[in-house]
């Protein structure tokens, strides 16, 4: 038993959702290989049997920012292709069913932030992910909606993929190319640096796509549900949540920041079976 914030809680050896890591790193490697192959293909080479699409073509957010131009002019913003539109629709479908699983299970930028955070967790132990004062944190978490509005507006006005110059995801997989801006690299560096202190800082405070997908937490079909009757109120679910959501104080997690990672569930950290589950309404 230990005391955290005045509450005595029992600590359990946390079990992690290992298959999520597997899926995350699978997508990370796939995107990295596609990006490298794109560079090779532009120089006349390339890896056989592997896609060589540009990173813009395999990013669903490209579909979001081009919606305005597609509706008004019938074309895509430069560098965005039809595949981005397809991925956007698939990601929305996934989000309506399961919430922002794209963020928690697929997005390579989230994966690398989590990886860096492993070092931060070892360095700062219980202080990790609790550096930002709660009041400030609550306000900052809405910043990403401002970023979303700015990106969509500027893309509509300029007709160019303006976010590419600031996008740490693009910088991550193109840092060797001349297409990357210094600003993008700096933002990537800051994001990875902050990941030593905070879990998923980009996702929490700045990601415009995460902001959009996060809205689906309000009405997703499957959600994180806590059974109050069996809950021991040990707070383990809230402590383990990478997005600092107070899972132990709600019956259904509708927080716009939940990434459906399942790390709070009975399958992972919750010590009581069938108490915190990823389920539809009315499930037992």
């Amino acid at each position: 038993m230990i005391t955290v914030f005045g509450k005595r809680i029992r600590l359990f050896r946390p079990r992690s959702i290992w298959i999520r890591k597997l899926v995350q790193w699978g997508f990370f490697i796939l995107i990295a290989l596609i990006s490298i192959n794109h560079g090779l293909a532009e120089n006349g080479g390339g890896i056989p049997l592997l896609a060589n699409a540009s990173l813009h073509a395999v990013c669903p957010f490209g579909g979001v920012v081009t919606i305005y131009q597609f509706v008004t002019v019938g074309t895509f913003v430069q560098k965005v292709h039809q595949a981005s539109f397809v991925l956007m629709i698939i990601s929305f479908l996934l989000a309506i069913l399961f919430g922002p699983v794209f963020c928690g299970w697929v997005c390579p930028l989230g994966t690398i932030q989590e990886w860096v955070s492993n070092f931060g967790r070892k360095l700062f132990r219980r202080r990790f992910n609790h550096f930002v004062p709660a009041k400030l944190d609550n306000v900052l978490r809405y910043l990403r909606y401002g970023v979303l509005a700015w990106v969509v507006y500027m893309t509509a006005v300029t007709g160019t993929l303006i976010f590419a110059d600031y996008d740490p995801y693009f910088a991550l997989f193109n840092f060797w190319s001349s297409e990357v801006s210094i600003t993008g690299l700096v933002i990537l560096g800051v994001t990875l640096g902050l990941s030593l202190l905070v879990e998923r800082p980009w996702c929490k405070y700045a990601c415009p796509y995460g902001a959009l997908l996060g809205i689906t937490n309000l009405f997703r079909v499957f959600g994180i549900r806590r059974n109050e009757n069996t809950c021991k109120a040990d707070g383990a679910c809230s402590i383990m949540c990478p997005m600092n959501i107070p899972v132990d104080s709600v019956q259904v997690v509708r927080d716009h920041q939940c990434i459906s990672c399942l790390e709070c569930t009975s399958e992972a950290v919750c010590p009581v079976a069938k108490t915190v589950q990823f389920a539809t309404r009315g499930a037992k």
Binding site: L22, G74, Q82, I89, F98, T265
Partner: protein, 266 residues
């Protein structure tokens, strides 16, 4: 219904790749441009390919296919000596002309094609063409405002290729046709030409605009730095374009953002 992590993982992967497979089967999965420019939807040129939709990824051959402007003409216009100009990507021009005082790239090709085809083009922003392109265009039927715009938006060829490859180049020496080539006052037919330092009076952000110009137009240092995403250089005489090149930023992206700030001050 309850989902465990294993089933969720399977569903995520199946829905994602299944969706891609389905869209691929339906012909919707396209990861590169079809190289078909959008059509103009209204007006005199309705139904024709729109030069404004030329992408940097197009080759001169793609431009030829869409607009019937021969690759050889494009190569001559942009001073390119290449045995196979049809394979040259439009976006490569920007790098070739990086030493130019003005930006010459995809926008320049769009403008050239529009003027070459006698089509209207939005002239509210500054787009520059090399002298060899201007020489070719002077042989076409340009409207008076297009001719005036051309006269004020021409830069020397920088020795990339011989301007003499362009028709009538020998009849129109650069020194006569492009004021900027000599640094002398411009031909008297264009208002901008009479004010070589137009950037400081017209409040239009262009390749020659310095940080000092921006400050004198009332744009604060904080605003400029916000747009740049970094600190402004100590020397206000530095050109914004040079700064962008030095910092690896896209001037084509920074320029409209700065222009928006300048317009706000107006």
């Amino acid at each position: 219904m309850t989902l465990t992590s294993k089933y969720l993982a399977i569903l995520v992967v199946v829905i994602l790749f299944g969706g891609i497979f389905f869209s691929s089967a339906m012909g919707w999965w396209q990861t590169e441009s079809t190289k078909e420019a959008a059509k103009i939807t209204s007006g005199e040129f309705a139904g024709q390919a729109n030069p404004a939709d030329i992408r940097g990824s197009y080759t001169f051959g793609d431009v030829e296919k869409n607009f019937a402007v021969p690759s050889a003409v494009l190569a001559a216009a942009f001073g390119i000596q290449d045995s196979n100009p049809a394979a040259l990507a439009v976006k490569s021009l920007e790098g070739m002309y990086s030493a130019s005082g003005q930006e010459i790239g995809t926008s320049s090709v769009r403008l050239f094609v529009a003027f070459y085809k006698g089509m209207p083009y939005d002239l509210s922003t500054d787009i520059y063409l090399p002298e060899s392109a201007a020489t070719i265009l002077r042989t076409r039927n340009l409207k008076s405002e297009q001719a005036a715009y051309l006269a004020a938006h021409t830069v020397p060829n920088l020795g990339l290729g011989p301007a003499t490859t362009a028709p009538q180049a020998t009849l129109l020496p650069a020194a006569q046709s492009t004021p900027q080539a000599t640094g002398a006052p411009a031909a008297q037919s264009t208002p901008q030409a009479q004010t070589p330092n137009a950037s400081s009076t017209d409040r239009v952000v262009k390749g020659t605009t310095t940080f000092g110009d921006l400050l004198s137009w009332g744009v604060s240092q904080a605003t400029i730095e916000q747009v740049l995403g970094g600190s402004m250089p100590a020397a206000p005489g530095m050109k914004v374009k040079d700064y962008c090149t030095e910092k690896g930023l896209s001037f084509e992206t920074i320029r409209p953002a700065l222009q928006a700030r300048v317009d706000q001050v107006k």
